[in-house]
Symmetry: C3
Subunit: 335 residues, 3 copies
């Protein structure tokens, strides 16, 4: 049985079953996620922000790394779909009693939960789990190691599409610590799959992945060159906690070279979008006047985060239902 | 644009919009809060303790200081109004990533939440936030620094009204560490606004605010004098964590002078109510026989806390709705 | 007023009122719990895993000892019954402000909660609480000291009945650290009440309770003898945290003597069930090939845990309702 991302993530009919990575998903499916998310934007604007799509379902937020921000948006998304939510901060609990990851998961599955939203410090942990679950359980990757953070990338894509209408013809620059960023990995893949003209990475060599061109990106070391003619600028967070040793001279040196100031923004196309996954380090990655300026869509990204998470949660649950009814899922097929 | 408490807290029609402080609210509005809370008392006695007033709304408990007790009563109140509740203990999360309070709030607002119940160690933090939110978001102060704790004061007022029927003619004594007590500040204001005859503070000079008379209170240093002819005795908690250095000789010395014993209670009017915000330090602020005695209404205060919180939550949401519909809110007016 | 477990746990009509211990409950009632749990198994298999039995009720998870696993199953069970759930981890909160257990509980009761699911390090704490609550509040013991953990025992009974259909004629062996196990105490009582032929304890003398025969169990020191002819093997967890000093030579020595390997399993009857409350210490109490083998029902135990907890929660709420309506409860009778 093949276990590439694509095979794990899709049902036999090509529906979303798990959401583990952008890698392996095609343009049609990514577009369907964006379309579904668009339809949920309206729900967040209602007085009664609820739809009954996951009523009676149990969603478990399984966070092996702490993240109030991401966990909260998944919790809100699940509640707006009318699901019951169980928050589990692992690390202080079961695993500290010496239980293995796979035993923890077997136990959680035995509680008849429908979906696990999982963050883990090890790349591939959600894939590992998705390989073993029964066909009626969906796994959503909320960030694994340095691998992917696919819902973050999709909320960025939704934000770009809202403002630019289309991906074709766009030049997008991703600036900062690409090497340690699972967000950047997911963004590069999503942008290429959705058909932008060019993905640029702007960073010093020490913060670049090993083979950037293999990812489908063009490398620049200076903002002055990299930002020329771009339509979208995605700033990354400096992940202090991820960097070992001195890859950077200093924060102020980084800001001088790669911080997005009004001066540097002027190199980009007029009206270029300014994006950042948050939380912002003002004066380190970005100047306040830019973060709060007219080209910034940073807060729109947050709002879109709820809608995108509602989309992948409801779509994967739908895929699970199909799978279970048609009996073509791997777990069912093997009985 | 004026930004006094009154202007921030009320809509153009005089409806509650945020609930930040007792200061600035008039007798009619405080009475309306008590009347609304009275109607919710009955909900807590039903088998099904729910009303659909906030169905589909998202309430975020935003606690920058930990408080299981207050957070729990707000959580229960929100759930009984059918809202979805998100508990965020900040300090261990976003702000530890170096994000500012205002960025944290901008992000939370972008998640399309309807109400923030906020506790913060800095006086005025909820005002600061209320000044910047869009007209469809309500802020409830759950205690800010040494400033105010208005829902605690209103549950005390509800308890007094239940037993005494009216405020006029009452003498009320507040005993203990007034200086460090946001609860006392809110109580003094509420009692005066609701028209009691006299508010007394009984404490040593070291635990009194700087200008007690300006607050509308009369100062006593001895229980024997201060309790004479009073109808209600409100004991304060000794906030060990708030007191720096040695403002008190010792706990036993404090108890001897200001602890509410049966002997001291006898100075007050027969049937005087005994109140305490909890948690009680038995044998430090109050004798067990008094805390559990026939004049104690301490547990009734807790029950009333849910009803009062349901009242201010539903009223402020109603004010927000009006504001949004009529388009007279400041945020709307400025577009 | 008598305050044995039986009297505290049952209404005048013999309905469940609190669920504190297996001790004091008869065969008919335990069987009714299992029958009710059976009916909830089906709910966990539905797409919409909810029944409205506790709609509008407030269930407080009051954990004075941390336990993600047990707390989560109670939370899921309560949500599937449509209750509102409040999770309180005490120890870091109210009690750290110097409040006594009984004051904490009086306060929680004043919040008009309907049910407290309580875990405490002191044996008898839930009994203590149940003695004082009003007739409309139910207490569920989620594990107290070394005393009892009755829902764990009942989920084990449900698992045995599912596979063996009946208890009569069965020989059941409980293996490991019986002395420190509240689970084992509840299991021994439940097995005897439900009418198994023989309960065996297999452990070194240092891990046996003082008078095992008084509990209705037969003692064996060697697996080779104790497992002969048994139909069910219940492995206990080695509670490292509960053992003071060196009661055991070493983990590997324990495993050699009492670990359940394929070789030792062969002493039992063919098809004997293998059970473990989790989390498993693989290679300490049990060999992986056995834990994951065809005779293991360990994950079924977890699934049954939700159903059993739904059963005792809904039954005790029903008993409370009867009590309140008929006015025969102690609190009501005394007014």
């Amino acid at each position: 049985m093949p276990e590439t991302s694509r095979d794990l993530q899709l049902t036999a009919d090509g529906e979303l079953r798990h959401f583990l990575a952008i890698e392996g998903l095609g343009q049609a499916l990514l577009t369907r996620i964006l379309d579904t998310a668009d339809s949920f934007i309206e729900v967040g604007e209602r007085t009664i922000k609820k739809v009954p799509l996951l009523r009676g379902r149990t969603v478990v937020n399984l966070f092996f790394e702490p993240s109030t921000r991401t966990r909260s948006t998944f919790e809100l998304a699940a509640k707006r779909l009318s699901a019951d939510v169980l928050n589990l901060d692992i690390g202080t609990s079961a695993t500290s009693k010496g239980e293995s990851l796979s035993d923890t998961l077997l136990n959680l599955r035995a509680m008849a939960s429908d979906m696990f939203v999982m963050r883990h410090s090890q790349s591939g942990a959600p894939h590992f789990v998705a390989q073993s679950v029964t066909p009626d359980v969906a796994i959503i990757n909320a960030g694994d190691g340095r691998h992917e953070h696919p819902t973050q990338a999709m909320l960025d894509m939704l934000t770009i599409r809202q403002h630019m209408k289309t991906f074709s013809g766009l030049r997008v620059a991703i600036v900062g610590d690409v090497q340690h960023s699972r967000v950047a990995r997911s963004q590069i893949r999503a942008l290429n799959t959705l058909g932008v003209d060019e993905v640029r990475l702007i960073a010093p060599d020490t913060l670049l992945p090993h083979e950037p061109e293999a990812l489908g990106a063009r490398v620049f070391h200076r903002m002055e060159e990299g930002l020329r003619n771009v339509d979208v600028i995605i700033m990354l967070r400096l992940q202090h906690e991820r960097m070992e040793g001195a890859l950077l001279p200093s924060e102020s040196e980084f800001y001088r070279m790669y911080g997005l100031t009004r001066e540097k923004l002027a190199y980009a196309n007029p009206g270029a979008l300014v994006m950042h996954p948050g939380p912002i380090n003002r004066g380190v990655e970005i100047e306040s006047a830019v973060a709060d300026g007219p080209q910034s869509v940073i807060l729109g990204q947050v709002t879109n985060g709820i809608a995108v998470r509602m989309a992948v949660m409801s779509m994967s649950m739908g895929g699970q239902l199909n799978e279970r009814q048609s009996g073509t899922g791997e777990g069912v097929a093997s009985t």
